[in-house]
Symmetry: C2
């Protein structure tokens, strides 16, 4: 890249002097804009509540089918705000770069952040860059922190689920984790495996507009659908019964899971949410999601119950098995 | 540590399952409290402006005389808000941990964060933990993002400095960078070298209360006093003349700088700020700082001028030299 004297990250890029300035001006500001908050946008809406969330991203490889760590870092944080019922407004971005990281890769990552931020309607208003020596990090880590506002009349909570409520997933599951895993290790699997990574704020708003009574939404990232539902079930002191047949799963993802011996219910999504709604509103909710391009494979996958507690899966072959909390992960470093 | 099954970080601690939950409950929540925002505190003040800043910390070693990466991560971000004239309110904390990191060290770091946050009057309201494999990071990296509010009538800006204005530093300089450097490399230097790392929000408020006309404040972290003043001089299109004799520098720090061939004006402070005030208010400003325990060594170190542009140092022996922007750092990974 001719605009730099360098083609890869050097330690000086992280030290706040002329080299840092060059990197920030010629790469970060070029694509993300300088981090100045427009004066009128900083006035905080009257009675809305502030929502804040933070996430660090360490995915390996940094680029994978369907996205890269930059796109993921925007989606992950925007989606955490969206499922709280917040309208995402601002993001910050903190980069930890390893000496030797290619500036070409870094630029692709920053371009993806800029595009995804535009798509999600958020401004990246503050940034920070640190560089560590070769071997002291693994290419690139990104922290994004998101700030949004929850309209005064919204109160989504994982503790508000009632027996009888319907459990909806906004699309096909397990695609992000499997795409990253296969990109990292290959295993000789090819197939059409793409991350589902996408921002969900507009889809969440589309649902709330039609069904403001939605109890809660959650994005099933680390730990997947099973772990996320276990957390909600515990918080609300209910049980949940899932219908395996209703869980949307693309054929190549199912094949890869079978081959690797991985349960897709524990694999991370980065562009899906779970929504729990009162039973009598489930069809309206499903329609609201399916009408939206990001929710066209939405499906009602289960129901909250008084007992048994925990989360149980009614399997395709008529059996039933409990979904338990895993000690750790099947797939490390997928986000 | 008997409350864990482990004595060091394992990959599963970062994967969102039972091991993560154990770490979060038994270590992070134990010291920092669970990240629930008290409902009444989330209402955003009417006409105040939101201030947001982010910083990642990669200091090596993670523990150094006068602090550790946890204390530093709180101070660094609180101080970035304070010098904007914002009252710091919330922090988020994102941890990237290397497999094998001692839980004892991690606990000391988290305890320091909790203590420093209390001292600074901020709540840590969101957190995230990722774990990467051995060799994929260097012990621990922490991102902190801070949210604060700038009262409607405050407008501090690096671009508002006028010729004639006085330049004040809130205390002795270069202590953080030198303390970390010596802790890392030893060099056979002993001496009383302690980081100056401390939160400055109360000191900044004490100054503004007495001299609301303060033009701007900045904390001279990476790149030190020289780099920070160069940025302000450029933004305000003024020159600056510094008086070397007036710059407060502790004897052991001066000795270490001489020995290592390092210019203390380029060494990071983490518990000092530069304040630029109208000339006629400089004595009130100085007194306001010196009355406060965190500002008792404050000193007027120079003046803004029409020309020459840039920053010039009048040396102790009567000479003058320009302070120029460095390409990178004299001391990598000090924050």
């Amino acid at each position: 890249m001719s605009i730099y004297r360098e083609t890869a990250i050097i330690l000086d890029h992280g030290e706040g002097g002329a080299a840092t300035n060059r990197l920030v001006q010629n790469l970060f500001f070029k694509h993300l804009g300088a981090p100045t908050v427009p004066e009128d946008a900083t006035i905080v809406p009257g009675n809305d509540r502030l929502a804040i969330t933070t996430d660090s991203f360490v995915v390996r490889p940094a680029e994978f089918p369907g996205g890269n760590i930059g796109k993921l870092a925007v989606c992950g944080t925007v989606n955490d705000l969206a499922v709280m019922g917040a309208k995402p407004v601002y993001l910050t971005a903190g980069y930890i770069l390893e000496e030797g990281l290619s500036l070409e890769i870094l630029e692709r990552i920053v371009i993806a952040m800029a595009q995804t931020a535009r798509e999600a309607g958020v401004s990246i208003i503050a940034g920070d860059t640190k560089v560590v020596g070769k071997g002291d990090a693994d290419g690139i880590f990104i922290n994004t922190t998101g700030v949004g506002f929850v309209p005064a009349d919204r109160n989504l909570s994982s503790a508000s689920v009632k027996p009888g409520d319907a459990i909806i997933v906004s699309g096909t599951i397990a695609e992000h984790g499997i795409a990253v895993m296969v990109a990292r290790e290959s295993f000789g699997i090819s197939g059409d495996l793409q991350s589902d990574c996408q921002p969900l704020a507009d889809l969440a708003e589309a649902l709330i507009a039609v069904v403001p009574q939605v109890r809660c939404m959650r994005d099933p990232t680390r730990g997947g659908v099973a772990t996320t539902l276990l957390e909600i079930a515990t918080a609300s002191n209910v049980g949940m019964i899932l219908n395996e047949m209703a869980i949307p799963l693309r054929r190549p993802v199912r094949a890869a899971c079978d081959l690797l011996g991985i349960d897709p219910l524990y694999v991370a999504c980065e562009g899906r949410f779970l929504a729990i709604v009162p039973d009598e509103l489930k069809e309206e909710a499903l329609l609201a999601l399916r009408r939206h391009p990001r929710g066209k494979n939405a499906s009602i996958i289960g129901q909250a119950v008084v007992s048994p507690k925990g989360v149980h899966l009614e399997t395709i072959n008529g059996g039933e098995r409990p979904l338990i909390a895993l000690e750790g992960a099947q797939l490390p470093r997928i986000c």
